[in-house]
Amino acid sequence: MTTNMIKVENLVYKKPKLLNDNDMHYCPGCSHGVVHKLVAEVIEEMGLENTTIGVAPVGCAVFIYEYLDIDWQEAAHGRAPAVATAIKRLNPEKMVFTYQGDGDLAAIGTGETIHACNRGENIAIISINNGIYGMTGGQMAPTTLLGMKSSTSPDGRDMARAGFPLKMADLVAQLDGVCYVTRQAVHTMPAVNKTKKAIRKAFEYSMQNKGTSMVEVVSSCSAGWKMTPQEANDWMRDNMFLHYPLGDLKDNK
């Protein structure tokens, strides 16, 4: 006797429709894939598939447009918030978001980020903070922790020479144009669920024209950190979360 186990009523999980079948280039243990999936789920659940324009960064997520089947513009390094500003101003009825890493958003694009937030552009910024430049091979970022080793801080980040890890979420939370800032992670299932809720809220606020939202996802980078995926997740929990504590920083309900 054969039983068809694949029944609609038995289905508890499926891949979001907007996440296509292209092989992802991300390393084992990378957080990008999970966050991509959450963004796809939120767009799908909100019915925004034909209304959303995403702005891709330069960094590991530069190829996000290969994986999520929505309209995309690929911005120059750091300029995504400026690109998104114009898209949203010219199309106020659309959902516009940027997806950026910490090198893109907290280093070369600091000006564009701060000013888009300060103008209260009705966009959502998804910020992946893994404390390192992943794509170019693990160099020090503004977000790199003190003492953390990278290819351009081989002895560990030294505050005398390289300053301090930059907390962009804390910085933009102070700006009047910003309606929602939260810092989340995707290292456990409960954390994934919280991050999804945060992305959903940011997208809802954008569509309600409440101002700028930022969802920072503290992420691991096993390749850049030279660790196994499990070691990287543990190291993130024990070190990154101390400097980048999880939770809401601002929510103008």
Partner: protein, 359 residues
Amino acid sequence: MKENVQLMKGNEAIAHAAILYGVDGYFGYPITPQSEILETLMDLHPWDTTGMIVLQAESEIAAINMVYGGAGCGKRVMTSSSSPGMSLKQEGISYIAGGELPCLLINIMRGGPGLGTIQPSQSDYFQTVKGGGHGDYKLITLAPASVQEMADFVALGFDLAFKYRTPAALLADGIIGQMMEKVVLPSQQKRLTNEEIEAQTPWATLGKPVGGKPRVLTTLELEASIMEDHNLHLQAKYRAIEAAEVRYEEIECEDAEYLLVAFGSCARICQKTLELARAEGIKVGLIRPITLWPFPSKILSQYADKVKGMLTVEMNAGQMVEDVRLSVNGKVKVEHYGRLGGIVPTPDEVLVAFKEKVL
């Protein structure tokens, strides 16, 4: 209908013409001598009439990337600046050219290098015509010589940009931006609806069409052979533009034994020099390139067979002269006379230079 004739600055004419053309968005950052463009737009409140967006960005870098975003949606978008600000925009211009995004870029030139001066100059010819950003790209470059052309070339620039899906530049010196002249303004055109944009530019990212494929605008391609194909596609387009879009003005060239070649303000100055020369019995003509790229090489090459010499007059150290020399390919002597750093030559001194260098 009665003509809309007004007296205004070249910069103001650009602002008026942009609104009347039905431009969707202007993104800029203040810099002398072109701030009147942003000021006039803010004063005219086009968001209340046509719905045009006007945004003062935090930097020229942000402004050009806003143009990228808006152009990527198929909207008519523009930015303006002056020389040091245009240097900042070059990264974005390269992306816009690579991504084949139509838009209008306006440079009201001042003297450089560095912070330079706020006085007029033409020293950004190389930057604009030869490509100031990285990679093999070209900008359709229009050089107005009057306030009327400042207004007219807004429409022409957008028309050409959308015809070829490529950025267009309006390159004027500070005199053309600041001087006041009579201008006949066009009638109001309607801004395009999103439905019209979807129909005319199906590549525009306005949200994935229902049942359709996602649109992706990117300038990244890691596979070199595909990137070469993209470059060849761009080059083929540039050859088509060179074949069809050359514009220039010939002034008293029929019987000319010598030619002056000048654009923008210098062409206006050279018109007076031409009169002075002809009063002395010297048969001088003037070629005024209107498109600096594509450059009017063919007509210059033809005149090289007829005239005894050419003099380019530029407010720079000799930039367009290189294109004139390439055009005539050694058939006739081509000399350059230039003033630098914001100094404007007089008709008399141009005549003296002409006599010394060419006659």
